[in-house]
């Protein structure tokens, strides 16, 4: 039996991979699986710090829907940014720029999963949570990817709101409303995002310039970016302790928040002081790596305290 594929004539050399569709892992890669894991984790923490109870199956299906919604927004981001991804070493091997999946396939895949994830979350949990997920997808795919990213050096500052929303969605799943706990977690991720990404942008400034993306180091200069990284870290360290002050972060969280916050400040000062050659690169990569560890440790502490009975109140 002769298999049929797209309408490419026999004499035309066909781009075989894109013409016949990608492999299953390519479609999975479109969903940015590492981001999905982070979203599941932060949404789960948003659920456990909430004053409420959710049936475990409802919670699990809701987390799945949130993760797929986040993956769908990542897919739409890859669809829109394929031209940029093609000229940056970090992203050139992604499925669309490498020709394994066509833009049209990615767009259809992303749109379908966006609608499906929002509908499933609405039917599973409630329509506030579904509305927040829809807002997150639109904010990331349209406001950030299509507009902010190529328009302003504040792109990842404002766009960071999309990455900060999963705990809020998690709390909406459990309580049907948005409370101070998830809003504090939102603020922590929101303020954490600029120093995290700008550390990477300092190293990749040339690539961003080649791709025409107005990242902070390219627009305001490396020196200004380093100062802003310090300011954001100085603000983030006390903000990271807000859960303790509000009573949903215990002793374990307080210790990790304090040590981690001081670490963020120390790493940011290292970035400020090392502005040339290998030392600059090492300092920026150190900041980038530590910022991931810091956020992961903060949220892990909350999860451990609320889920494994480790909560010991610090105040009162």
């Amino acid at each position: 039996m002769t298999s049929l594929t797209n309408s490419i004539g026999p004499d035309v050399p066909a781009p075989a991979l894109s013409a016949a569709g990608g492999d299953v892992p390519d479609y999975f890669a479109l969903l940015k699986p590492r981001v999905m894991v982070l979203v599941i984790f932060t949404a789960l923490v948003g659920m456990v710090v909430s004053q409420g109870h959710v049936q475990p199956a409802i919670g699990a299906i809701s987390l799945l829907a949130i993760a797929i919604g986040a993956g769908a927004s990542g897919c739409l981001n890859m669809w829109w940014d394929a031209d940029i991804d093609a000229v940056m070493s970090r992203t050139a091997t992604r499925p669309i720029p490498s020709g394994r999946i066509t833009s049209e396939e990615a767009l259809g895949f992303g749109l379908f999963l966006s609608v499906a994830s929002v509908l499933v979350l609405g039917l599973t949990a409630n329509w506030l949570a579904a509305g927040l997920l829809a807002f997150t997808i639109v904010f990331y795919a349209v406001i950030y990817s299509m507009w902010l990213k190529r328009a302003t050096a504040q792109n990842i500052v404002i766009g960071g709101a999309a990455g900060a929303l999963p705990p809020v969605i998690g709390q909406a799943v459990v309580t049907g409303s948005v409370g101070i706990e998830s809003l504090i977690l939102f603020a922590i991720i929101f303020i954490w995002t600029p120093p995290h990404f700008w550390a990477l942008a300092l190293i990749k400034a040339d690539e961003y310039a080649r791709a025409g993306i107005p990242m902070m180091p390219n627009v305001a200069g490396p020196a200004s970016t380093r100062r802003q990284i310090v300011w954001y870290s100085l603000f983030l360290a006390p903000l990271g302790l807000a859960p303790v002050a509000l009573g949903f972060g215990g002793l374990l969280y307080a210790v990790i928040g304090l040590v981690g916050g001081l670490g963020m400040i120390a790493f940011s000062i290292r970035v400020l002081r090392n502005n040339e050659g290998e030392a600059e690169k090492r300092a920026a990569m150190g900041m980038f790596g530590f910022s991931i560890l810091y956020l992961f440790a903060l949220f892990s502490a909350l999860l451990a305290e609320q889920s494994f009975g480790l909560f010991r109140p610090v105040l009162g």
Partner: protein
């Protein structure tokens, strides 16, 4: 409107293998979708929904 006179090339064995994998993945995803809605229905409505008076 007349059909455009297009010719198709046969898929290579590698492309056919990828298409088969995609088909299996779609089938599994559809199965998971049905299972998900079944579980959701049972959890939200409860098993007693099946023994209510008609």
């Amino acid at each position: 409107m007349p059909e455009p006179d297009v010719q198709y090339r046969p898929l290579t064995p590698a492309e056919e293998a990828r298409r088969r994998k995609r088909s299996v993945a779609i089938a599994l995803a559809l199965g998971a979708w049905v299972l998900l809605f079944f579980v959701l229905t049972i959890v939200k409505l409860g098993p007693q929904i099946l023994s209510r008076p008609l």
